[in-house]
Amino acid sequence: MRGAVASRPQTGAKLSVSHVSKSFDTSSGDVIDAVVDVSFDVAENELCALLGPSGCGKSTVLRMVAGLEEPTDGSLMLDGQEIVGPGGDRGMIFQTYTSFDWLTVQQNVEYGMRLNGVPKGERKARADHYIELVQLEKFRNAFPSQLSGGMKQRVAIARTLANNPAILLMDEPFGALDAETRWTMQELLMIIMESLRPTVLMVTHDIEEAIFLADRILFMTRHPGRIREDLETRFKSGQRIPDKEAVTGLEGYADLERHIMHMMREESPNRERRA
């Protein structure tokens, strides 16, 4: 960086990803570029979705924000601070279930606060609040083996939110759920967005999910992953509507969906065969 003065535009961005690239060394000695020169900002209270076909590196971008992967090039800043590793300020929710089997729902939700030395009384009160938010009051003393998939994801959401992260990272959080449960969970997330107004960066390959949930959609290309389009879901006029049916009926929804489907098809590896 010698000679170049780090002049970063002081925007009000919560998360700032600038010129980030990531390449992996394969076992055969080749270098694969997973992500190339990705730049974007996420504003405070914004729900931003990284959308794209599988293999577009969207999860890699999310994992770099989490600090679980290091970028080969570029930098990532959260609240003006360089991201150098994983930390409690960037709570992550995975597609696979991550409830700790040996802890009850209550203990799972208290887990992060316990790590960070939150005193017992406050820990309990905060856990109660978030357990109610995800509607698991009746199951607070249950073990995860007694819960359904959707309930396990509720535990994960409550556990992450109770830890009070600066940004919530979600990696296809509802991808393993059946269609009906996914829908319910998406609406629950919208209710949470309204009441807590967290900043969220979410990875998904589900077009409907992205349009319903996101304020902004970053569409990524395949191999290597770049950002192709930065789309605002303006047709929602800045509202967070916790009713999926209502959103799909809004004017502009169909146009946006068609536009994204078109891009998805262009990025599809099966494109030649279909044409």
Partner: protein
């Protein structure tokens, strides 16, 4: 309704039937044995009938000396196994968690796994004589290396997402080890301990039939010298029963410790 046949593919059977069939196989086994001796198909001197063996077992236990030998054998098993666990559990956990620790220890551990423990008996006899120390040393090296490897593999199988979840909640390496890796691997570690305890009993007999004066194995070797086949058989029964008992106790402990597990995972 379709006729219930006696044998059906994969059809569960009532619990009472399971117990009755399990008892029946033993009753038939002993009945055949008795019958074979009574018919003089086998020489009663080398193959005494079950009722004689049971009688001998009762006499041996009532005599008291055999009980002391049983106690000595159990003591050897326990001490050697506790020592092996004391090293294998922490080392296996560290090797399974950190690649550098694995890269350092694994060449040593793998090599030792392929050296048959009984081949060390001559060495151990020279170093420690014929007492408890030599027996315990043999049991220890017989179990240790396998235990380390199995525990390492179970720790490696802990899902990365669980560890990463803790990382993104602010967990330090030590906290993650203590609050995620250890509890996640613990049910399987206890299973590994149960399996290796069974192996321990095998090495016990080997240790006690070579240059030993005490323990169940030594009792058997003494009985052999005087052609007391009934005593040898009674000893074998005791070893079998003790093995079963400890296995059962381990199973019970596992169930108590890990109540949170799904019935299917047990």
């Amino acid at each position: 309704m379709r006729r219930q046949r006696w044998l059906e593919f994969k059809r569960p059977i009532p619990r009472r039937a399971t117990v009755a069939l399990g008892v029946a196989v033993w009753v038939i086994f002993f009945a055949l044995w008795e019958f074979a001796v009574a018919q003089a198909w086998v020489n009663a001197k080398f193959m005494p009938p079950p009722h004689v063996v049971v009688g001998t077992l009762y006499e041996m236990l009532a005599g008291g000396a055999f009980v002391v030998d049983i106690g000595i054998s159990i003591y050897r098993i326990f001490l050697s196994f506790a020592l092996a666990c004391l090293i294998a559990v922490p080392l296996g956990i560290l090797m399974g968690s950190f690649r550098r620790v694995e890269a350092f220890f694994n060449p040593l551990v793998s090599a030792w796994r392929y050296l048959p423990a009984p081949s060390f008996i001559p060495l151990l006899l020279m170093w420690f004589g014929t007492g408890d120390t030599q027996k315990i040393a043999l049991l220890f090296i017989g179990v240790l290396w396998f235990l380390i490897t199995i525990i390492m593999d179970h720790v490696k199988a802990v899902r990365a997402e669980l560890i990463e979840t803790s990382m993104t909640l602010g967990g330090s390496r030590w906290q993650i080890l203590r609050t995620v890796v250890v509890p996640a691997a613990m049910p399987n570690i206890v299973v590994a301990m149960r399996q290796m305890l069974a192996v321990s009993w095998t090495y016990l007999v080997i240790a006690e039939i070579v240059a030993a004066t005490t323990g169940i194995g030594a009792v058997m070797m003494r009985a052999k010298r005087f052609l007391h086949v009934d005593q040898i058989m009674a000893s074998i029964i005791v070893i079998g029963l003790l093995g079963l008992l400890f296995d059962y106790l381990f199973r019970l402990t596992h169930r108590r410790m890990f109540r949170y597990l799904d019935e299917r995972e047990r």
